[in-house]
């Protein structure tokens, strides 16, 4: 009985301590920006993961401006936009990083962003400036491509059409267009290549798809673990394998259809109490200094033309671009995903 009592006493004591003084509580209840000392940035998982650029950027920014950055991940790109547009919850952030060109129109429509005047914008590659009002500014870009495992013994495909061949049965990993931006990019790719016939293409593609993963991380992880010889990804990925693994085993494939671009944008929220500082940060994000962090963390091209490219990027080739948009961003992604889910 004695031990029982001790146990209960300890349990109640510990329980009481939690209730009485709970720092998590205090932190969560605190105003998002006490005295302007900290900027809150909403982004997606891989930007702030241990391999992402967030750590280096935060350190450099604090050195230059003395202000702290707090990164908050909203999951993947799809969840980021959804969290932003959720009418019932106010976005308690200053800055958003990570919306892509296919989400741009919907994000701008919301009226949540302020126009920015940034001096580093002059150095940004001109064809990336899709928003003439400069509310959302491009910080990096890349091209979608299928990655191929050259040791798989599977012949590399040369076009979207090739992917539907029986030879590739259950050999391809793509991402869910409802939740991830590469998934959405692939949908745009097929819509640009097949016009009205894209749904038919997805039906024909269905037998080839091994998995449709919720995020790029998961899909590419599956691919490098050897679960499939082909995965939707970016043309820059060979540079990653060159830099970290010193291998050219994984190759990006050039398709005859052309390759759609992904451009990623950042912006400052109207509701931010620290707009001045936030604008300074976005300007910093576009500076050649900060842009140099991006190639080997984001594995994307920096948008600033003056930023230096690392040696690993020598294995990356640029492909003929294909202008690709999603027709109906509210409906097409779920229709595409449903084609894959309901068929074998």
């Amino acid at each position: 009985m004695m031990r029982t009592r001790q146990f209960i006493a300890i349990f109640l004591l510990v329980g009481g301590l939690f209730t009485a003084n709970n720092p998590v509580w205090a932190q969560a209840n605190a105003q998002p920006n006490p005295a302007g000392a900290e900027l809150v940035i909403w982004t997606y998982d891989s930007f702030m993961s241990e391999w992402g650029p967030a750590g280096q950027i935060a350190e450099a920014f604090q050195k230059a401006y003395g202000a702290k950055l707090r990164f908050v991940s909203k999951g993947d790109g799809g969840a980021l936009l959804s969290a932003l547009l959720d009418g019932t919850k106010k976005p308690n952030a200053d800055i958003i990083i990570g919306l892509d060109n296919r989400q741009l129109a919907k994000a701008l429509q919301s009226g949540l962003f302020v126009p920015l005047s940034l001096k580093n914008l002059a150095d940004v590659q001109k064809n990336l400036l899709l928003d003439p009002t400069n509310r959302l500014v491009p910080y990096d870009f890349g091209q979608f491509a299928f990655m191929w495992d050259s040791q798989s013994g599977v012949e590399p495909p040369r076009s979207l059409e090739d992917l539907t061949k029986p030879l590739y049965r259950k050999k391809i990993i793509i991402m869910d267009p409802r939740t991830s931006t590469p998934g959405l990019g692939f949908l745009a790719w097929t819509e640009a290549a097949y016009k009205e016939g894209w749904k038919n293409y997805w039906k024909r593609l269905s037998p080839s798809i091994l998995a449709m993963t919720p995020s790029w991380d998961t899909g590419y992880g599956l691919f490098t673990k050897g679960e499939a010889p082909l995965a939707l990804s970016y043309s820059i990925d060979p540079a990653y394998h060159k830099a970290y693994e010193n291998t050219e085993r994984y190759k990006a494939l050039q398709f005859t259809d052309g390759h759609p671009m992904q451009i990623e944008f950042a912006g400052v929220l109207v509701s931010s109490p620290n707009r001045e500082l936030a604008q300074k940060f976005v300007d910093f994000l576009l500076s050649a200094e900060c842009q140099a962090f991006l190639p080997e963390t984001q594995w994307m091209f920096p948008s600033n033309t003056k930023a230096k490219l690392p040696a690993s990027f020598s294995v990356v080739s640029k492909y003929p671009a294909l202008n690709a948009e999603v027709g109906d961003i509210d409906r097409d992604p779920s229709e595409a995903a449903n084609i894959l889910i309901s068929s074998p």
Binding site: M1, R3, T4, R5, F7, I8, F11, G15, F18, T19, N22, V24, W25, Q27, A28, N29, W42, D45, S46, M48, S49, E50, F71, V72, S73, K74, G75, A79, S82, A83, D86, G87, T88, K89, K90, R178, T179, I209, L210, A211, M212, T213, P214, S215, D217, T218, G221, K225, G226, E227, A228, Y244, N246, T247, D330, R331, N338, L340, I341, S342
Partner: protein
């Protein structure tokens, strides 16, 4: 019933009602406003309906298949455990703690590690059968999902069915045999009728768990389909479509209530089976072929179920090389998690302990109130409205998506603070476990002890304090520990809420798993497993002391 007790009872009932129902009401209100504002149902009703029907069909199908497989795996084990004495019998029965103490996210990780293409199992198999054949990504198909569900839940079948089987005597079967029936026929007439309710009860429980399966389907489902729970997640997180989420959850709850109704009916029948045969039977030593089958079964369980769990421990200490070198063993994964950018591990441990500790305390308080209220209400009036209502409320968290509770609390909290919603929602999910445990131990007290205390001159209050309270305190502590274990391992609520501000241990685990950083995920998983598992050990201890 005195006036004072009835006031107390109704007070308690109100507290429980408000605790359980207010988040549901809050969610429904916002969802309906959302729908009226036109933001919700942009799709025509026909596609809306077909989406729901498709996901309902998939949910039911996968639950049925998973349950069938889990019971099939569990039945031999239940028979062995009910009839024979053998080394490892206790361990086999104790496996039933796994589904409760180890969160699905941990088991998912174990399965990918073990059954994946580069996993331990396929490496071992390739030693015997040569290089791997064409890998078809079995884990990511419909049957892969079924297998994960079945292995996760089969210990429940072993535990529940054997608990009943051990009380069914052979007399009836022997009688049938003397009357000339064959072995099979004797079993069918002599044992099966008493055993069936037990099988049905275990099946019903497993079906319900699979019906609400979320993380497993999210990770493995992909192309196979989406359960209603996953659809709710999509609607909330990616479409911010509360009306759609509400529609899904109404369908889900109706189905679950139907299942629960059937389950409670069956439970009544198993109680009858238990009453018919009071004593448990003697266990026999297995002979010859029986021993062979027990050993084969043991190997099967170790190979397919224990193996994956052990591989977490191994992988946690395996440090992958980044520059194409060899892998080493050591604490590298832990140090990366502790010292790396934004040092996720320690923060995650702290916030898990804090938030789940708070949720467990809340759940314990609510559970104790409910358990006591149920006990006294039943004592006062067996067929009254109050005990029925409390019993129904106890089932509620098993019938309603945790997402709805979480978002309901989110809408209720003035600043939409996610951590408040997390604590409240997890408490709502965990309290029935506390109240059930408490109620069961209150009922187990022999009324004569209490009467004895009273005849010795104790006032009713004093009698309650010395007899009942003393007896139930350990089970309250055990239930509280159990509540902590459930809330600490829960990844559904934080995932549904999309919490970016606070990272809990299961959330970190999910993120690492999703990014395929398995070794670090295993390191975090080991910490989580120790935390929830340790609580379970404590609980066992407390039960022993009692």
């Amino acid at each position: 019933m005195t006036r004072r007790t009835s006031i107390l009872l109704y007070g308690a009932l109100c507290v429980i009602l408000i605790f359980s129902m207010s988040p549901l009401a809050a969610f429904s209100k916002i969802a309906l406003e959302n729908a009226r504002g036109g933001a919700g149902l942009s799709e025509p009703p026909a596609t809306f309906l077909s989406t729901i029907m498709r996901s309902l069909r998939f949910t039911v199908l996968q639950s049925l298949a998973s349950t069938a497989l889990a019971v099939a795996i569990g039945l031999p084990g239940a028979w062995f455990a009910a009839r024979f004495r053998f080394a490892g019998r206790k361990a086999l029965l104790a496996l039933a703690a796994v589904p409760f103490c180890f969160p699905p996210i941990l088991v998912i990780l174990a399965f990918i590690l073990y059954y994946g293409r580069e996993g331990l199992l396929s490496s071992i198999l390739s030693l015997f059968f040569g290089p791997r054949k064409q890998y078809q990504g079995f884990l990511y198909s419909f049957w892969g999902l079924i297998m994960v569900h079945a292995f996760y839940n089969f210990p429940i079948a072993v535990h529940q069915i054997s608990a009943l089987w051990i009380r069914i005597p052979d007399t009836q079967m022997e009688a049938a045999k003397t009357l000339g029936a064959g072995k099979l026929r004797a079993f069918r007439t002599g044992t099966l009728p008493w055993l069936l309710p037990g099988i049905a009860q275990a099946s019903g429980l497993i079906f319900l768990y699979c019906f609400f399966s979320f993380t497993t389907v999210l990770v493995f489902g992909g192309r196979a389909g989406a359960t209603i729970e996953v659809e709710i997640y999509h609607a909330l997180r990616y479409q911010s479509n509360y009306a759609l989420a509400l529609a899904f959850s109404v369908v889900e709850t109706l189905c679950a209530l139907l299942g629960i109704l059937m389950l409670t009916r069956i439970q009544g029948r198993t109680r009858k089976s238990l009453r018919d045969f009071g004593r448990t039977r003697e266990l026999a030593s297995p002979k010859g072929i029986q021993l062979f089958f027990i050993i084969m079964y043991g190997i099967f369980i170790v190979l397919f179920f224990i193996g994956p769990l052990l591989s977490i421990v191994i992988e946690a200490f395996k440090v992958p090389s980044s520059m194409g070198g060899t892998t080493k063993f050591g604490f590298g994964n832990f140090t990366t998690l502790i010292r790396g950018f934004q040092a996720p591990l320690l923060g995650a441990i702290l916030s898990t302990v804090r938030l789940s500790g708070l949720a467990a305390v809340l759940a314990t308080v609510a559970g104790v109130i409910a358990g006591l209220a149920l006990f006294f209400a039943e004592k006062a009036n067996k067929n009254g409205v109050v005990p029925k209502l409390i019993e129904v409320l106890q089932w509620l968290p098993m019938a309603v998506s945790s997402a709805i509770f979480a978002y309901g609390w989110l809408f209720l909290s003035t600043d939409r603070v996610a951590s408040i919603a997390l604590v409240a929602a997890q408490a709502v999910i965990a309290w029935p476990f506390v109240s059930r445990a408490l109620y069961a131990s209150l009922r187990a007290i022999d009324p004569r002890v209490r009467e004895a205390a009273k005849t010795l001159g104790a006032s009713p209050f004093r009698a309650f304090m010395t007899v009942e309270l003393r007896t139930i305190l350990p089970s309250i502590a055990a239930a509280a520990a159990f509540a902590f274990s459930i809330t600490a391992g829960d990844v559904n609520v934080p995932l549904m809420l999309g919490m970016g501000e606070v990272e809990t241990l299961p959330l970190l685990l999910y993120r690492l798993t999703a990014a395929y950083r398995f070794n670090e995920a295993c390191a975090a998983g080991l910490v989580l497993g120790l935390m929830t598992g340790l609580v379970f050990l404590l609980k066992e201890k407390v039960i022993d002391v009692a």
